[in-house]
Symmetry: C2
Subunit: 756 residues, 2 copies
């Protein structure tokens, strides 16, 4: 077991690597050539222009103002400077709510840590159990943990009381945070400008009608059942085929640009390519001609498909976006049942136009239930049996296997150095690839489940990932062994035994988790701010594909907060905090450092880098809250298990109260706040409608809503622009002259608010 | 263990006692003097008049037409004669849906039984395992059960396949039944006449306002937020105190009548009573004078309280019944969230006026969550620890305890015969009293939980009773021992072990359950039809309290279907059926007899006897469905446990599919049908509104709704009458001249449709 020196060494290494990342970041971000990697958000907002137009040639690429290097950490205070309301305006409520999860971690754990260090550490340290046992090696960390308290000691009262104090403190913080979040969301929805989704309801499972088209049927139904409120509707085209054609054309276009650039730089030789798949096989052809003709062919195909989709009645899916004369009408329609058959005419709030996941709009009810059953079973197998196919791949991917499949590599990999490298590397690589692919797999599963908006897809994937992390990282590290073995243990042991088995191992795993927090948390977050992959990709694209400013705009990859993967990871830190706050409080400072550092970094990122794909108004908060509650309950059960092995069984009746209280607290909060995230109160809707009627009596809402929900392929990039402009015209962050074509009319010259 | 002879004997005894009850019933019901006990429903409907006015004196009390005795079983076909639509008209949808549960039992188990007897009984009988074991006593029943199949035999395939067949058959029946039920409910709601609750929404947790009264606040809020739909509203008075005064007055009135009658019969002596509590202590006073003056006193008090309630603003609770101009408006308001704070302005469909549980209308949200937490904990303790206080009472209630408390009884109970009787009787009596009180206790708990309608209270109590029966009757009989011991077993054993422990004991308990079914099911149902307790009470009341026809009307106790206790008991029979259909199929015929007999009896009872207190439109069906699903899952898990002890572990993967499918089926049905029972589709509402507007353009809805939701004490008995008349005037069952005063204008002479 690691002692304090080992931990210190590990901490030093991780802090140094984190620092190295930060220094690299500090230097790289000051180079004008990297400006679009580290400040893409400002470019997209149109506030920051390309720095390549001003100054000398060198200055365009390298920052020679050495004074700025001295202030290389000044992004940290700058990240904190922007006040929250402005942050919501600038980055959206989703991002702001997301970084508040880190802040929530600080709010919960800073007071708990202080108290635990003051009360529990002395109680544990003077327990002196471990010193009396001679033949067991123990680390200094363990002396600070509950293991150092003798069995059946009265000292456990301290832990018991602290468990209560910590629980109630967490309740207090969580309740307040939920309240703040609900108010923030309602305020956000109330003060935001007119948006199409406020007036619109997504109707699915429109029943087929022999006499009427989908469009007529929808119109008649809503004219009859919402006569005073119905305004207009838009049918949904099944444009998935068309979308894939557009996608392919875009990729060909990139290749064409690449070869054109190549030819421009070296005009002595026309570039060539091969006509087979991936340009690897087939006849050698002139690249520029080949791609030009391919694009032309595809354009024709696209046009045919576009006509087919618009004219063919079978291309209309039985779903529609129905718009109402006011928010009240939409709120009513979204919250009520329309037909006596509850599986047709399903209505729900329309997601933002950007947030719609188009391919899923047409899944019928029965297929949905079947898909969800299958995915639930699949998730179970994925979580508990994922090691089986990986072990199979690993058994294939050894030296002999490679030699059999690719005999020509034999001389190379028979070399001792290469051989040992391959043997050491290969078994791990299958697992690594699986873990990298996992979020994609989970997202695919959520898509199969048939959710209709990107935000709900992300939320569902996060739930799946949370389960996976809990079983395979948390439990997997504590009871070493695969998830499958844990499942067996779980099924074979009594329900009261399982918390004991896990609880007993918890204090011993503290050092492991401290190291984990430093590697995954500290260094991982520092790597996040450096953005190494987008940096490389941007420069590659910039060299090969960029011709105009617009191309450069598209070459930027601002990225976004990936809720589906990040949030479950944060939940792991919360879980570790809850579990160890009573057992090994010395772990808490490491978690606090993680939360504080991550808060800083992500606040900087959402200000300067990330560009969210949609805005859901923090709809994910109930999920966050629920998972925190799950973490608390798990920690309480494990504490109970641990205590009962310490001859402190009398504490069980007192400890069982905690999970019951926690469940009750959850139900209470759910009833109190959740509806703010799923429903829209009529009172609000009425207030906004009345206000709008008074201020804009001549508003032509029908024209405003006419094209709001059109599949993006029918609009090109116009859809997004339309929205962004609309929002900014009414509340511009800074004065901007940009009206329609974002790329060409950028404000030149660097803006003064670089670091905000 | 019992063999076939024992079972036969037990069956004979139970069949004989059931027959005795039936014969007694057949004779008693033909006596005109019992007419109001066995046909109260028809009196309440006003179709049947008192038989005492016609014929000779003797004929008024005893039926001398001996021909009718020969046809003593002819109530059975008569009970089946009334077609279902007419039954719904006559007895209401609640009652009709309730007896369909028995019919559902027949639909599920008749085909299953035939198949099981044809396939599984031969498979088990020829298993010949039990015959080879010499030193184990076994019964003939066991030879027909799965115990007779050798471990690890291929014969288990038959059981496995049958488990699948039975499950899918049950799915099929359940799905159809849910569909029929949902349609029946929607049709019932659609075709029923105008009722106040169609236009009305119950609003609770009206926030306090310093400037406005509750009434003004409600009016303003709904005028603003439902401007086109709001019609009127009624505030709710806290009239609990007044109601208890009225109740006391009624009881005094009864005593007064009793003494008046006594005096009339024997006018030589004025009756006396004692003025202390229960007329047992205190001064001797003239009874008629005493009660007259008491009633006068109470009437004054009542008048004062009535004035106080009406004038005191504090007597108005923060709840109101808000009525709308149409069903559409009410449907919208009931299904949407009103305020941004989801714990105020809570709206839900108003229950029928008769169905409102007035004392619970004013419970605030926070108190509700606390109460529900406490009741959940209380239910847990009640279910698992109820034996502790009973054992305590039993330990007190022995001979010595009685002698200590009531020493004067010593000479009596020291007698050997009395002593043995007391010793044998006393321990059981505490348990018996508890079991009789249990439904009341559970109902009290539901009331504390704060539900606002009688129907929801009944549904909640049924849920609690179901848990109690499952743990204490089903599990308690299988693993003999108290629930507390079961809880310990459950916690100490692995989750896979518990089904094994229970599963292994199941085949051995078949004979016990067969006896249970005969005693509780067969004989119990036969006793139900006899109505011994209401018979005695009616004759007591008739002799002492009845003066006028109206009094006699009130002396009738038609009773009603007690959903809260009957439904969980039926569920036990379903559970037994599901569990034993694969294991000991010979138990099934006994269940079928129960279902068929109970169906007959209850159909007769709802036609001729019961008078439901409210009509909820079969809102309970989702609960029935859910508990059937729970029963199926339990049976599947137990079968899995049993199979794995029979060296047939390979079947586990196949059997685990069943509960997963069942859960999926439940989710599917819930999504497909449940909303028919909790929501009201706007389409329906709009159709009815439009129709009404066309047929009755001059309807004064406001006047119609004005007094619909007034606390019953403000109306006396008028409230119920009002409703009944309204329903019948529009669709009278048979022509009746009764218009307003039910008691005085009864049709005299017996009607011809007695037995329908």
């Amino acid at each position: 077991m690691a002692n304090l020196q080992d931990i210190g060494l590990s901490a030093a290494i991780n802090i140094l690597s984190a620092l190295a990342f930060l220094v690299a970041f500090a230097i790289l971000r000051l180079q004008p050539v990297n400006d679009r990697v580290y400040f893409p958000k400002w470019y997209l907002k149109g506030i920051r222009g390309s720095p390549t137009r001003s100054g000398t040639f060198v200055k365009q690429f390298v920052n020679l103002d050495f004074q700025t290097y001295l202030r290389f950490l000044n992004w940290m205070p700058a990240a904190l400077k922007m006040p929250e309301p402005e942050l919501i305006d600038h980055a959206g409520l989703d991002s702001t709510a997301f970084i508040r999860i880190y802040l929530l971690g600080l709010k919960i754990f800073v007071p708990i840590t202080s108290l635990a260090l003051v009360v529990l550490v002395p109680v544990n340290w003077t327990g002196k159990t471990l010193e009396t046992i001679q033949n067991v090696t123990f680390s200094d960390i363990d002396k600070l943990s509950i293991s150092n308290v003798p069995s059946g000691s009265d000292r456990f009262w301290a832990h018991l009381v602290m468990a209560y104090v910590f629980t109630f403190w967490t309740f207090f913080v969580l309740y307040n945070e939920y309240k703040i979040m609900a108010n923030m969301r309602l305020k956000f929805l109330a003060y935001e400008n007119r948006r199409p989704d406020q007036f619109t309801v997504l109707v699915r499972n429109v029943p087929p009608d022999t006499d009427e088209s989908v469009s007529e049927h929808v119109e008649h139904f809503f004219c009859v059942n919402h006569p005073d409120n119905y305004l207009t509707h838009q049918v949904v085209y099944n444009a998935n085929e068309l979308a894939s054609l557009v996608e392919r054309k875009k990729s060909l276009q990139n290749w064409l640009t690449y070869y054109q650039n190549k030819y421009e730089r070296n005009s002595s030789k026309r570039p060539t390519t091969k006509s087979g798949p991936w340009g690897l096989w087939g006849n050698k052809v002139d690249a520029i001609d080949y791609y030009s003709s391919e694009i032309e062919k595809l354009s024709k195909e696209e046009e045919v498909e576009r006509q087919r989709v618009i004219s063919d009645p079978n291309a209309i899916v039985p779903a529609a976006f129905v718009s109402f004369k006011g928010r009240w009408g939409a709120a009513v329609c979204a919250q009520t049942q329309q037909s006596r058959n509850p599986t047709i005419w399903l209505t729900e709030w329309a997601p933002e136009p950007r947030d719609v996941y188009w391919p899923n709009l047409a899944v019928p009810y029965f297929a949905l239930t079947i898909r969800r059953l299958l995915m639930a079973v699949a998730l179970f197998f994925l979580t508990f049996f994922f090691m089986i196919p990986i072990a199979f791949v690993q058994s294939l991917a050894n030296i002999e296997g490679i030699e059999r499949v690719l005999p020509f590599l034999k001389p190379l990999i028979e070399k001792p150095t290469v051989k040992s490298l391959v043997q050491g590397f290969l078994p791990g690589i299958a697992l690594k690839i699986f873990l990298i692919l996992l979020p994609t797999i989970l997202m695919l599963m959520s898509k199969i489940e048939g959710y209709t908006s990107l935000s709900s897809l992300e939320r569902r994937s996060a739930g799946k990932y949370h389960l996976f992390i809990f079983v395979n990282v948390f439990l997997g590290s504590i009871i070493t062994g695969t998830a499958l073995q844990q499942l067996k243990t779980f099924l074979k042991e009594a329900p009261t035994e399982f918390p004991k088995t896990v609880g007993v191992s918890i204090p011993m795993k503290a050092t492991f988790f401290i190291t984990y927090i430093m590697v995954d948390g500290w260094a991982g977050i520092a790597a996040e701010v450096l953005r190494l992959v987008p940096l490389i990709i941007f420069h590659l694209k910039n060299s090969f594909l960029v011709k105009t400013d617009k191309d450069r705009e598209q070459a930027m990859d601002p990225g976004c907060l990936t809720f589906a993967t990040s949030e479950p990871r944060i939940q792991l830190y919360f879980l570790l905090g809850f579990v160890y706050c009573v057992i090994t409080p010395i772990l808490l400072p490491f978690i606090i450092v993680f939360f504080a550092f991550a808060y800083l970094v992500f606040r900087h990122q959402i200000i300067n880098v990330y560009d969210q794909k949609y805005e859901s108004g923090a709809t994910f908060w109930p999920d966050v809250h629920r998972r925190l509650i799950i973490g608390m309950i798990i920690s309480q059960l494990l504490l109970m298990g641990l205590m009962s092995t310490k001859n402190a069984e009398n504490s069980t009746p007192l400890l069982i109260v905690l999970p019951i209280l926690t469940i009750w607290f959850h139900i209470f909060c759910k009833g109190r706040f959740e509806s703010a995230f799923v429903k829209f109160p009529l009172e609000e809707a009425m207030v906004k409608d009345t206000l709008e009627k008074a201020t804009e009596p001549n508003l032509n809402l029908k024209a405003y809503l006419q094209d709001a929900y059109v599949h993006p392929v029918f609009k090109g990039g116009d859809l997004y622009k339309h929205l962004v402009i609309d929002e900014e015209e009414s509340s511009p962050l800074v004065p901007t002259k940009r009206k329609s074509d974002r790329g060409s009319k950028l404000n030149s010259g660097r803006n003064s608010d670089v670091d905000q």
